[in-house]
């Protein structure tokens, strides 16, 4: 497959500009670039969801033009989306044949075909399992199978590892090698460089919408690749010296939260992201189960975990949007368990929400109104009962200046800023009220590397000044680099703790699947109390 001179313009931005990409048969071709570099647009063009303004696509030397994904599928191109497109209440078989019933029917022939594909590529998919019973990794394999079922010879995988723990990533890569050996091509989109280097045969780097270079994995280090991607020196999230004091800021004792609707007794809250074999326990009505921890002034406590294991509920309980069913939260010595959200925020709890569009911003409001959000009762936003727009506007200008929010003014809507700049505004806003305790949920998710470094710096700076931080992140490097202490959340419980100075992402990953618990040691000694951890260590 060959793409030449692809250009796609959207109002105001050139998403892709003069892109050249050649994918050889039987290889894994990685497409790397920062968030917003234009990877997704390129893939949408390849998959027929959008038409390029300029440029050509050729498959096996033959020039093609796609009007819709159906055309792309007919040409043997298949896409595995980052967010799975599966119907939970149908079986694997039903999901696979859905929409392509004509190929092999919906009965025995289709089942045989699925078995055949599954065996050939080592996918291990059971056609009659219900999709809702499957874990994330299994679902992804179903998506891949769905694409192969439709006769794809070229697979596009959009950020396939974003939702997986390291062990699952390894399994996925084995599948990809299998596909490749059968002569299929894989386009692998990612911004995780280590993974890219381990699985790809060729690498193409995209920056600011255009291809800036190609690399051969054997001759490239992650650092070189990253610099190619960013175009500059790379920041690291490592904290320098410990600033942890013995003054507790936040003490959480035996915090328990039940799933919504539990009073009906019928809802069986699935454990979300966990692997199938671990999630099947079925008694997880406690979305947070007896959670206790203490964060001191100047301490960053990181929480690792596969998404959906209670992180959201923990944040909700701490910020007060969902109240604890039992247990207590003490903040600076005061019991704040019954406090409403506003009182908590006024007393010095800062909040960088996990979903900034849903929880952190009013997208259609100007920046200065967004600066008020969450701190409407505090100076400089309000004088008593009255709002103080002048004060808020002046302070927004200061934040824009100090936090390098790239915007032409403070009257533009939040929606018109890029993700990184929106996040900088949120961080600036929260830091402006001298929080004593900061809940930072995925503070750099979807943020480009430059902004990421700035946000890390800000958190470190505040930590030196005595801020206590609860850091929740899916980026294990960020967690390990920024935290003073690390806990692992699994199925609503804090199952393990680790020392960020010695732990590796792989070790953390095995605890995130529930395979290891207790105190995680980096040494060869297996983590106490588990038998699953052994083989996984070997695998590493």
């Amino acid at each position: 497959m060959e793409l030449a001179g692809i250009t796609k313009r959207f109002p105001g931005v050139v998403a892709n500009h003069d892109i050249h990409l050649t994918v050889r048969k039987g290889t894994v071709h990685a497409l790397v670039g920062e968030n917003g570099a234009g990877k997704s647009t390129l893939m949408k063009i390849l998959y027929g969801m959008q038409k390029p303004d300029e440029g050509t696509i050729a498959i096996d030397g033959e020039q093609v033009s796609f009007a819709s994904p159906a055309d792309a599928i007919a040409r043997g191109i298949g896409m595995v989306h980052q967010h799975f497109m599966l119907a939970d209440n149908l079986t694997v078989l039903e999901n696979v044949v859905l929409g392509s019933e004509k190929l092999h029917g919906i009965g025995g022939a289709a089942r045989r075909k699925i078995k055949e594909i599954s065996d050939r590529y080592g996918l291990g998919v059971r056609p009659d399992a219900l999709v809702e019973d499957l874990g994330v990794a299994d679902r992804q394999r179903v998506e891949i199978l769905k694409v192969l079922f439709r006769g794809a010879r070229t697979l596009i995988l959009d950020e396939p590892t974003a939702v997986l723990v390291p062990q699952e990533v390894d399994a996925l890569f084995d599948n990809l090698r299998e596909l490749k050996s059968e002569g299929l091509s894989v386009i692998f989109i990612s911004h995780k460089l280590g993974e890219v280097l381990s699985v790809a045969d060729d690498i193409t780097v995209i920056r600011r919408g255009t291809t800036v270079g190609t690399a051969v994995p054997a001759e490239t280090t992650p650092r070189q690749l990253a610099e190619l991607m960013v175009g500059s020196e790379l920041p690291t999230p490592e904290t320098s010296e410990s600033t942890v004091t013995d003054r507790p800021v936040l003490e959480v004792r035996n915090l328990t939260v039940h799933a919504a609707g539990v009073s009906l007794g019928a809802e069986d809250e699935p454990a979300g992201g966990g692997l199938t074999e671990f999630a099947g326990a079925g008694e997880t009505k406690r979305v947070l189960d007896d959670v206790s921890f203490t964060i001191h002034a100047g301490e960053v406590m990181g929480i690792a975990g596969v998404e959906g294991n209670g992180q959201t509920e923990l944040i909700d309980a701490l910020i007060g949007t969902k109240h604890a069913d039992s247990g207590a939260i003490r903040f600076l010595g005061e019991d704040i368990t019954p406090w409403p959200t506003r009182r908590r925020r006024e007393s010095g709890v800062g909040y960088i929400p996990e979903d900034r569009h849903r929880q952190g911003l009013l997208l259609e409001s100007p920046l200065w109104e967004n600066r008020i959000l969450g701190h409407v009762t505090e100076k400089p936003n309000a004088r008593g009962f009255w709002l103080n727009p002048k004060g808020a506007q002046a302070d927004t200008r200061r934040i824009v200046e100090e936090y390098d929010v790239r915007t032409p003014g403070i009257d533009v809507t939040a929606a018109s800023l890029s993700g990184g700049n929106q996040q900088k505004l949120i961080v600036g806003r929260e830091m402006s009220h001298d929080p004593k305790f900061l809940i930072a949920a995925h503070p750099t998710r979807g943020v480009d590397v430059g902004a990421q470094a700035q946000i890390w710096d800000r958190i470190r700076e505040a930590r030196r000044a005595g801020l206590a931080v609860l850091l929740i992140s899916a980026d294990l490097d960020e967690l390990i680099g920024l935290s003073d202490t690390l806990r692992v959340i699994y199925d609503g419980r804090l199952v393990a703790d680790a020392d960020p100075a010695t732990i590796t992402p792989e070790e953390l990953g095995s605890a995130m699947t529930g395979a290891a618990s207790g105190h995680l040691e980096h040494e060869e000694t297996a983590p106490e109390g588990t038998d699953n951890a052994g083989p996984e260590d070997e695998a590493r």
Binding site: T341, R358, L387, P389, D411, V412
Partner: protein
Amino acid sequence: MKKFDKERVLTALAGPVIALVLAIVLTSVVLLASGKNPIQPYALMLQQLPFSDIQVLIINQASLYYIAAIAVALGFRMNLFNIGVDGQYRLAVVMTAVVGAHLALPSVLQIPVLLITAMATGAFWAGIAGVLKVTRGVSEVVATIMLNSIATAVIGYLTLTDVFGVQVGDNVTTGTMKKSGWVPGIDLGSDVGEIYGLVFLAALLGIAYWVVLNRTRFGFDLRATGASETAAAASGVNAKRMVLVSMLISGAVSGLAGLPLLLGDTHTYSLSFPSGLGFTAIGIALLGRNNPGGIALAALLWAFLDKASPALDYATPVAYDKEIATIMQGLIVFAVVISYAAVQQWSLRRQQRRVGAELAAAVNTKKEVAA
């Protein structure tokens, strides 16, 4: 900074202007289709405008529309669809008329008591929907629609002659209110008419609406809830309390909607008291973009269509149907919804482009400096 202000004015005006033009064009199409002159009726209606008595009628009618539309807009600002303004104001008018007919205080007390009665009744009626939403999750749309019907039944009961009703000819009234509760108007002579005293209340409500929404913490919370419920909750707004409070305020304001007419003119509730105000107000609030100034213009336009259209029936040499105005009002609502959605899309894209362009320009100049 100034550029963006101009931008905002432009996008604020584009929606209503496009909607009105579209509505006029479509109305002309309807006229053409029925074999009528597509321009003449507008001219006939506009010719009514210079007459002082028509002007007074328009202003009086607009004051009713305005108050009701402010009540609707309050709900809209936090994504609450108060369709029950109609029931709320009718019930409030009846209660006020009854209290006014049976209570005799000096004017300085009587009028405030009547205003409070109206607000309390409206707030109570809307509050039922609010409580249902907060405690049981009942959609306020469904609850307020049903409360409208219930209000009709309650009014029917209250106006029975053995409850509070008084038979006058073949009309049922609630009896004439005590004089101390009448609000004097501005008399412009017997051939022109009287502007209701409570027109000023409408204007005050408009100002209060703007101040509360844009200059108070409460208003910010309300708007934040309307813009994004999840963001508001994370920012510390108690969503349930907010729903209940804004429902109560919206109801209290709707309670006042019928009072300019009741206290300024009819001095009794009768079967001929106007109904349907609450539904008209929804269209007016939409056209006015929930903005107090915009709503005022929309209310005046609506009142103009109402009061100038009867002349169409008597026009010479060719008479037109006055229902043309009703068609036009309907088409305006229809066009408003479409044009606002389109303009919003367009303006967001325009703004993103501007932001992109300005940032690109900034980067380029920096590069040049560096080079």
